[in-house]
Symmetry: C2
């Protein structure tokens, strides 16, 4: 499908960092950037920007903070085909951490928020735009919001100049029909904005849901190399590039990166199709309970995990009698 207005964002380091506390080596991140440039990927999201007062730099790698100097060093000397992006969470970044764009290695700063925080996200995105950056608002876990909340947030967003708003399937719970419903809703409410899609692969639907979003008019597409990301991971960048027929994209550099860097990493840290995450996706729940279970000695006791999540607890149902 060739749509020239489509933009692809590689969120490997940012989303993959949720597995390893952003402990990627400089060499790894540099190889990733080099591959993205060679592949013609439009943006690479290299981590979260956050204040060092918010997280312990002993515990978290440098892509949890994205200090401008670390970024400059890691991309130094590479022809910058791919623009650099980072993400900020509401309340975890201070205005002083964000310098004007002409003093920054970043082109884009994305704002992640939950639906109830949309107005805070708008204020933060406005500040980011005032400093000259491109921006997006990524509203997480929309599969848990009722339509009234969504409509209210979209109405607030429609009055802003923020250029792009994402449908984010944080729990990997959506089917193609859900994607169609939401992307159409966002498009109608925000006719002047680009609609983005960010999927998770709990039910092996990340790629197909991204395709469905394209069919419905989304043009900002998130993906990650070899699907890296917390739990089941994301839409695979290599799959997405095979689907988009724009001649500017090239698959080969991504395959090279997978075999040189991501296959060895996958031996050390886990992501992909894993039953407990399939179960949280099916139940439209946050993966935290699956993460904890995979860290326990019973990690492969899928039946126990299923029973834990589907058997009503006595205290919860006491009122039913």
């Amino acid at each position: 499908m060739f749509k020239p207005e489509i933009r692809v964002l590689d969120c490997s380091i940012r989303d993959g960092g949720l597995i390893n506390q952003w402990q990627f080596s400089d060499e790894f991140v540099r190889a990733n950037y080099q591959a993205d440039c060679a592949a013609g990927v439009d943006y690479m999201e290299i981590g979260y920007k956050a204040s060092k007062s918010q997280f312990d730099p002993e515990k978290f790698g440098k892509w949890r903070f994205c200090a401008d100097d670390d970024i400059r060093r890691v991309v130094d000397g590479i022809e910058p085909v791919t623009k650099l992006a980072c993400m900020v969470d509401i309340g975890r970044v201070e205005e002083k951490d964000i310098v004007p764009v002409d003093q920054s290695p970043f082109d884009m700063i994305r704002v992640a928020c939950y639906m109830r925080e949309v107005d805070k996200a708008i204020a933060l995105a406005n500040m980011i735009m005032d400093k000259g950056y491109e921006t997006t608002i990524n509203i997480m876990a929309v599969s848990t919001n009722i339509e009234r909340e969504i409509d209210e947030a979209l109405n607030d967003l429609s009055k802003t100049k923020i250029p792009s708003v994402y449908v984010v399937d944080s729990y990997g719970a959506m089917s193609s029909e859900d994607v169609t419903f939401l992307v159409n809703k966002y498009r109608v409410a925000l006719p002047d904005k680009m609609i983005g899609i960010h999927t998770h692969n709990n039910r092996q639907l990340a790629f197909s849901n991204t395709i469905q979003a394209i069919i419905n008019g989304a043009t900002m597409l998130d993906a990650s190399v070899y699907g890296i990301g917390r739990g089941p991971g994301n839409c695979c960048l290599e799959l997405l590039l095979t689907f988009l027929q724009n001649p500017k994209y090239h698959l080969r550099p991504v395959l090279e990166l997978i075999q040189s860097h991501y296959l060895p990493l996958r031996e050390k840290i886990e992501w992909g199709y894993i039953i407990p995450y399939m179960i949280t996706g099916m139940l439209n729940e946050h993966p935290r309970v699956a993460i904890a279970f995979r860290d326990s000695p019973e990690r492969d006791n899928f039946v126990k995990f299923y029973d834990m999540l589907t058997t009503p607890e006595p205290d919860v149902t006491a009122g039913r009698k």
Copy 2:
């Protein structure tokens, strides 16, 4: 999605046998059948029926032949909720191997063929029906046929009493739009028949393509436990059961089977999302070249494999100059 007319067929042993030459133990196959019965799965395809003159019983396990006595022994004593099926290939089974249904453990015998063999498949399916079995015709590799061939075959099929015809994405090459195109075409040409769908997961689209086929009216659905099958495997049975909202289906027995039997098996034999199969899927090619590559010492050299399949060969392009 609750459609009471939907039937689910577990093809784990038949399709998974392509990886291990059908060397599943009796205990494994019995556990699979027990789980399918507990899960409410409609059919279990337990292997291929073939003449022992066609394949070496020293090399191939018993589910390559499906001798009636082997089948009876392995399901003995289990309440038969799930009907038993096997598959036959054109030219690899003799009429004497197929006894009348009332002397057989099987309820259904499916016929696999390529588009050019549809008339042979019709003759074989008619013989199978005459002996009292349910049957289907599974036309493989339809992603490689031009529309004229498909229309001609569907026209021949429309004149038969064969109750069910499958769209088979043998190469894992189809996207949802291809599925919609083909399922709609089959439905219009064969209004009195059930349409089936059998997908492969080369591009992580097996489950989503099965969902798309359901949306378009397919009612015979193939899936396999934990996605087992040659190369990338098939649509995961556990995913499909979470999607179908028919109360007769139960997920828990399938999860139990995965943790007790399929996780340990997956340590010994390989299937799933593997880059060389992704590449053959993207190129709409038979996986045989990927199978050979994964058996070679260069199995993880994805770039070499990609170059091998995408660089024009001098002899082929000589005429181009």
